[in-house]
């Protein structure tokens, strides 16, 4: 039976990328949903029979997290709406909360736009590299980034 048990090096690969994956997920779905997204994505990846044949593993892991975030989009939107409400009315927990404006800014973007923004501004990757990692065209990356800027501008200025 193929790959029912994670291989020892899977743990090492995960640990190598865990920190950047959780940051990535935080930008995609917010702090409170990031853990679940990463956990679910990793379970899928390491249970996949095709995983051992994957060569670009880091990109694959990022795609898996992105896909997971896209699938949880509705609950993410609800969560963000609730967090915005909380941020409007209550003190933000030290270290764990984000401003309402910032949460609104996140909510205004598609999940893929969030991914592109993160990879551009945090990972400092080029549109070509991002396109390769996300399996989209360079034009799509450029368009997502431009759209994201346009949407964010109103919230951040």
């Amino acid at each position: 039976m193929p790959n029912t048990v994670p291989r020892p090096d899977d743990a090492a690969i995960y640990r190598q990328h865990a920190d950047e994956l959780i940051r990535f997920a935080t930008v995609l779905v917010g702090p409170s949903g990031a853990e679940d997204v990463v956990s679910d994505a990793m379970l899928r990846v390491f249970s996949s029979p095709s995983w051992p044949s994957v060569t670009a593993r880091r990109a694959y892991l990022f795609r898996a997290v992105l896909r997971e975030a896209q699938m949880t989009r509705r609950s993410t939107q609800r969560r963000l709406a609730r967090e915005i409400k909380t941020a409007d009315t209550e003190a933000i927990e030290a270290g764990g909360g984000l401003s309402a404006d910032l949460l609104r800014a996140i909510k205004g973007l598609t999940v893929r736009q969030r991914a592109v923004v993160f990879m551009t501004h945090w990972l400092d990757e080029s549109p070509t590299a991002i396109a390769s990692a996300l399996h989209v065209t360079v034009r799509t990356v450029q368009r997502d980034l431009a759209d994201a800027y346009r949407r964010l501008e109103g919230f951040l200025r």
Binding site: Y14, L43, Y60, R82, V117
Partner: protein, 397 residues
């Protein structure tokens, strides 16, 4: 770098700073059973696999490419095996902490069923009042908040105790190697999924007719996967038997508001006094537009979706006449029933899909309130060949 890029730089840094610690490797795999079994085993079992085979099918998902897709295991009824899983009546296995979203449903006998949603699937978990403890759901003024942590341990209920809980009315049934405890209730039945003597899931079979339920109970023939979010749906009969909590007037017509969900603070459907079996759509504008905290609720009449709402509704509610331009379309895709809710293009108000809990996620195309892509969403649903480049979620595998 221009101004906006600098601002985005700061914003991203702020968000990243709020990132929680990454789950450790052991934690991820400790969650495997919790997050996979309840929502996946019933499907595979319904397709005719033993529990062991079902687990294997869940773990080994066939892939057509190296993309992390979510294809459902290819199983056929011919793969059914008759090996029964012996009922464990002694040791109880503690439920593990569960993270997810929860939606409570008050059943007619006062039993509370929590529909716990994990990730992209639904894991129905039942909490019997007094039996499980430390269920932390949101805050006192917002008990319906999702994204909470359920700590339900120790779960000490054994199968024998569960039988006692149901006053002996439950019937233990082995279907496809998975034990179920079927408990008749007014308006339907509860089918509990038993694993090692504890309840790992509950199926409110209120959407089944008697004939379908009989097949479940006798195990003569497997029925399909659990109905989509069954605890959030209701038959007309269920709605009509709920207590009348208030009345409202619409176009000069007096409507009775029936509480479906809880103690009368909220209502799902208004039934007109002439009992013409129409379900009025009630929308609390503030709730709908400002703070959607619930899921789509679809009211069913004779197998046809006749009403829906999003989130929970306050009473007195703003009674909105049924808008015929809001279509609730029932469709069967790959043998599974889905409800598509369309709003007119450009209204940007409400598009959603209620689908069965499964691992395929292939139709988990949820579009929340406030989205402006209603038209695109509908197109995505109608044409599974549309992909991400078309602005749709990943296409059906």
């Amino acid at each position: 770098m221009n101004d906006i890029a600098v601002l985005v730089d700061r914003a991203v840094a702020t968000i990243v700073a709020a990132a929680p610690p990454a789950p450790d490797w052991e934690q991820i795999h400790a969650e495997r059973r919790t997050s996979r079994w309840p929502r996946s085993v019933p499907m595979a079992a319904a397709a005719g696999l033993t529990a062991a085979a079902a687990v294997a099918a869940v773990i080994v998902l066939p892939r057509e490419s190296d993309a992390p897709d979510h294809a459902v295991p290819a199983v056929t009824p011919s793969a059914a095996e008759e090996t029964a899983v012996p009922a464990t009546t002694g040791a109880a296995v503690p439920l593990r902490p569960i993270r997810g979203a929860a939606v409570p449903t008050w059943l007619p006998d006062g039993l509370v069923v929590w529909d716990v949603v994990l990730g992209d699937g639904t894991t129905p978990v039942e909490f019997i009042p007094g039996r499980y403890s430390d269920v932390n759901v949101g805050s006192a003024d917002n008990p319906f908040a999702d994204d909470f942590t359920v700590t339900a341990e120790p779960a000490t209920a054994t199968l024998d105790e569960l039988r006692e809980d149901t006053a002996g009315s439950g019937e233990l049934v082995d279907i496809g190697g998975v034990m179920r405890l079927v408990t008749p209730l007014p308006g339907g039945s509860l089918v509990r999924w038993i694993d090692d003597g504890i309840v790992i899931g509950v199926w409110n079979s209120g959407t089944l007719n008697d004939e379908e339920l009989e097949r479940v109970v006798t195990g003569v023939e497997l029925v399909g996967p659990a109905p989509a979010r069954a605890t959030q749906s209701a038959t007309w009969e269920q709605i009509a038997t709920m207590p009348t909590v208030a009345t409202a007037t619409l176009d000069g017509e007096t409507l009775e508001l029936h509480a479906l969900t809880d103690n009368g603070a909220r209502a799902l459907c208004a039934v007109d006094a002439a009992d013409t079996r129409r379900c009025r759509l009630l929308i609390d504008e503030g709730t709908l537009a400002g703070n959607p905290t619930g899921d789509v609720i679809v009211a069913i009449d004779d197998g046809t979706a006749i009403g829906h709402t999003y989130g929970w509704i306050s009473v007195p509610a703003t009674v909105e006449p049924w808008d015929p331009s809001v279509a609730v379309v029932q469709q069967v895709v790959d043998g599974q029933t889905w409800f598509r809710i369309d709003t007119p293009p450009g209204t940007g108000s409400l598009v959603d899909v209620v689908g069965p809990p499964d691992d395929t996620a292939q139709f988990t195309r949820n579009f929340g309130v406030g989205d402006t892509d209603a038209q695109a969403a509908s197109a995505c649903l109608r044409d599974p060949n549309l992909g991400e480049e078309d602005g749709c979620p990943p296409p059906t595998s």
